[in-house]
Amino acid sequence: MGGKMYLWLQTHCLAMNDSLSIQEPEKGFQDRIDREIRIEPRDWMPDAYRRMLIRQISQHAHSEIVGMLPEGNWITRAPSLRRKVTLIAKVQDEAGHGLYLYAAAETLGISRDEMIDQLHTGKAKYSSIFNYPTLTWADIGVIGWLVDGAAIMNQVPLCRSSYGPYSRAMVRICKEESFHQRQGFEILLTLSRGSAAQKRMCQDAINRWWWPSIMMFGPSDDASPHTGQSMRWKIKRFTNDELRQRFVNVCAEQVKILGMTLPDPDLVWNEQTGQYDFGPIDWEEFRNVINGNGPCNRERMAARVRAHEEGAWVREAATAHELRLQNKRISSVKENSEKS
């Protein structure tokens, strides 16, 4: 072999090796995703995938925790003992969901404290739906029916999300959410069969929550910056608009059972598409609420920060006590070993 040829081979093969070593893990990763193999915490993953998941899971966890506030607002005023108990249990479930999700995000290398700090400093977002007020008892029913309903529509596909811990957390969460949704609908059904005042309360709550609920699916596909990559990585399985359309189709039928209406004059069944057409969404309002100018943004954040700050002495005391116990254990072990 001539020297020239050898040199060519050497440089060429080295270059190939180099490009292989860069592309190999990424390719292997995408390959696993394409073959529907779950990614687990110890597996290699691209940084951007990790970041996208942390953003999404922590946002989801924060939504559960902030979401406890508008519903918790009616615990002390629930109109019967049965309703009081189911509402406490429901809000408690949301706390549990927050816990699973924080734990799932922690497998990606971020601590719960960091995530909570991001929430309190406004760096991390939560679902903007919880910035709307719960003004009457009917709002508790509507949150179950529409807000949890929209959440389920979003979350059921996440049970097949490519990241293992997230998808497993979602399986548990979805089971409980569908229970909540039925409870919410049942509250509305009772109101819809009640007195004139109760019917009015029911329709009013639907009117106030309908548009914010369908905004929960996020911006329309052409304005959603993360959708494309998220679908390639199979974190998401359907686009925002696909899910929103399904939700509208379901609710437009369910509202008939209540004998109520959805506040959209353009809502009409379209024979050709086999779907409901609906009116334009006010994205200006959506952006406003996301940017902190919704009706309750300040109250919600203030309540979370207050709970955290007022709990600081409790957490410090618990840590100090635990430390003291540990020291006692250590010194008693030492004493014992010295004696023997």
Binding site: G72, I75, T76, R77, P79, A318
Partner: protein, 281 residues
């Protein structure tokens, strides 16, 4: 046994559980640690569950006897049968029979867990006695509930120890909480007239037999927390009562003489039922 006294007793037991459960539920969503928010909500659920069992039983007794409705719910117009909700939502504070301890405002986390501890230690002893008594319904409810109460007692005593033994600040807060709440513990052991009457006929529980074991539990946990009960400020010293820690106390709740706090709690809790009477919810 006079039926109305029996019903008053059931309402007293139910009111204790409902009011404490309601107070605890004010924390839901606002707890200092997510796991503990869940734990306290759980205790709320247990307590309100106990209250429901007792109210349902009381409602059956009310409905069974002509004229009983007027005795138990004076001045309240009830169309149809009395239910657990009629009893919870249509009695005013003068007809509520809970102890003053359980209606005290939550204060900080330390005061809340201490209130739970002082009450659970008592409730455990009470239910332990009730599960052996002649009223089979009450015995069954006590039997079921005592497992929950054992957990409430363990959970709350762990918190009392943790906070008493934690930092200088947590210790100080627990001392204040103890001073605030201690006044209300004496009432737990003073039998109301309906309790005395029931006891004479073999129903209910002998509260005086609960006192010393309660003190043992309390003193043991407080000692582990580095806390002491406030000094005795009355002449009801140990020499007269056999009690090591008898103190000045405030009472009246069991007979409907409450602190001002209960009125606000009920106004909030009962608002929907009262604003829209006669509705299904």
């Amino acid at each position: 046994m006079r039926r109305d006294q029996h019903i008053h007793y059931l309402l007293h037991l139910a009111d204790d559980s409902l009011i404490l459960g309601h107070r605890n539920s004010e924390w839901t969503g606002h707890g200092p640690i997510l796991e503990q928010d869940i734990a306290l909500s759980n205790i709320s659920l247990d307590l309100i569950g106990q209250a429901r069992n007792l109210y349902q039983y009381a409602a059956r007794l009310v409905n069974r006897e002509r004229g009983m409705k007027e005795k138990v719910l004076p001045g309240v117009k009830v169309s149809g049968e009395v239910s657990e909700d009629t009893l919870a939502y249509f009695r005013d504070s003068r007809d509520y029979k809970n102890c003053l301890l359980v209606e005290q405002p939550n204060g900080d986390w330390g005061k809340t867990v201490l209130r739970q501890f002082l009450f659970s230690a008592f409730q455990f002893l009470l239910y332990d006695r009730l599960k052996q008594r002649d009223d089979q319904q009450v015995a069954a409810i006590a039997e079921k509930s005592i497992k929950e109460v054992a957990y409430h007692l363990r959970w709350s005593s762990e918190w009392v120890i943790r906070l008493g033994d934690g930092t200088a600040e947590s210790h100080r807060r627990m001392r204040h909480a103890l001073e605030d709440l201690w006044l209300f513990t004496g009432e737990l052991f003073v039998a109301a007239p309906y309790e005395q009457e029931l006891l004479a006929e073999g129903y209910g529980a002998d509260l005086s037999s609960c006192r010393l074991p309660w003190e043992d539990t309390i003193l043991e946990t407080l000692a582990r927390a580095g806390l002491f009960p406030p000094e005795d400020g009355t002449s009801n010293g140990s020499a007269h009562t056999g009690s090591a820690i008898m103190t000045r106390s405030r009472a009246g709740g069991k007979e409907g003489q409450h602190t001002e706090h209960l009125g606000y709690l009920l106004a909030e809790m009962q608002f929907l039922q009262r604003a829209y009477p006669g509705c299904e919810w």
